[in-house]
Amino acid sequence: MMNLADSAPATNNMLGSEADSQRTLYPYVTGTSVIGIKYKDGLLFAADMGGSYGSTLRYKSVERLKSVGKHSVIGASGEISDFQEIMRYLDELILFDNMWDDGNSLGPKEVHNYLTRVMYNRRNKFNPLWNSLVLGGIKNGKKYLGTVSMIGVHYEDDHVATGFGNHLARPILRDEWHENLTYEEGVKLLEKCMRVLLYRDRSAVNKLQIAKITEEGFTVSEPYSLKTSWDFNAFKNPTLDAEGSW
């Protein structure tokens, strides 16, 4: 029977297995790293626009940075269909929040907590949303930046990254991030990280967006590409000092 509302509706079988029993799935169309940093006026995020299908760079215009309500930005890596579902949940969350019409609005800390609960509870049912998320924003002058993984691991920090970004970007950020970066410094720092990822991550695609959130609101850049440099003598003549090797 076709399911319409839920990819794993509640069942009552405690012991036996059912034909439709849901187990952990596998991702198909995936996004790679997302990076987020705090800066002087708010937060900056970077993500490329790739949607990989295994080793094929299938889609090159996937927007992986989206705004959430008035105060937050979400960036997702992992299965894109699950990210689209998360956006549906968040749109509903924000809608209900607005319908209260009480002058209050969900801030980044609340949204991060909501996502954490969603991701962790799905993990407990062995039916995870296969994403690693970056969630950040600014409300009433307070900056917030956090991350949640598909198993519910969550924390907040001054700079976060998902996927390969954990291994390649965070060391750079640990060295070069500091409080009160200007917008220009922040963008340059993110671009430095994205360039390294472009060289070293096979799923990276050379088309990225930078998103910014401040008290004024959310903006996301037009897609653009980074210059790369391959013109090294060592590349042109790799076996110069080691005749016979390859």
Partner: protein, 207 residues
């Protein structure tokens, strides 16, 4: 597009891979011989879309059709193995194409390819596709593309069907396999070896 097959036996040469509803058209791709999945899915979507149209009182939009396909695809991702393309025309947005690959991601695209033979077409489209083609240019392009896929994909062949959808409605065309262009290492078809017999070379065999 690719043809369905039961392991190596070709079950049907002439599957109609398109499923229509109103002005909106689905096309199937058989990613892993799960032709039945595409058909069942389109049956469900046709059912929901029909009811939606009754309630709406006018033809449904392409976006709604695509979202219905996504909904069924995403919520049954553990059972289904089917990637689809939804293309159509409505009075609000004009012509639109939505790709819904395995997993149930929904992506609006200016053009898209899918199915087993599509692996051989990525480079081709990267090179030749451009915005603002005329209907004639576009039709020639898709037929050429499918014929290139047929040349290299074992699971593709038989006939080529095209569907063109615009404000004037839906029109279908049919191209039998023997009318398609020939590519590398492919030869003109003959009735028999014996046809090469002529006055100048009575002996067609070479040693």
């Amino acid at each position: 597009m690719s043809e369905p097959c039961c392991y190596i036996f070709t079950a049907s040469f002439c599957y109609d891979l398109f499923c229509t509803f109103g002005a909106t058209e689905f096309s199937y791709q058989f990613l892993l011989t799960m032709a039945a999945d595409s058909q069942v899915l389109s049956d469900y979507v046709r059912y929901y879309l029909h009811q939606h149209t009754i309630q709406l009182g006018q033809p449904a939009t392409v976006k709604v059709a695509a979202n219905l396909v996504r909904m069924v695809s995403y919520n049954n991702k553990n059972m289904l193995q089917t990637g689809l393309i939804v293309g159509g025309w409505d009075k609000y947005e004009g012509g639109k194409i939505y790709g819904i690959p395995l997993g149930g991601t929904l992506l609006e695209q200016p053009f898209t390819i899918g199915g087993s033979g599509s692996s051989y077409l990525y480079g081709f489209f990267d090179q030749v596709w451009k915005e603002g083609m005329t209907q004639d240019e576009a039709e020639k392009l898709v037929v050429k593309a499918v014929s290139l896929a047929i040349a290299r994909d074992g699971a593709s062949g038989g006939v080529v069907r095209t569907v063109t959808i615009n404000k004037d409605g839906v029109s279908r065309k049919f191209y039998p396999g023997n009318t398609l262009p020939l590519w590398h290492e492919e030869l003109e078809a003959k009735d028999s070896l014996l046809d090469s017999l002529s006055a100048t070379s009575p002996e067609p065999m070479v040693s």
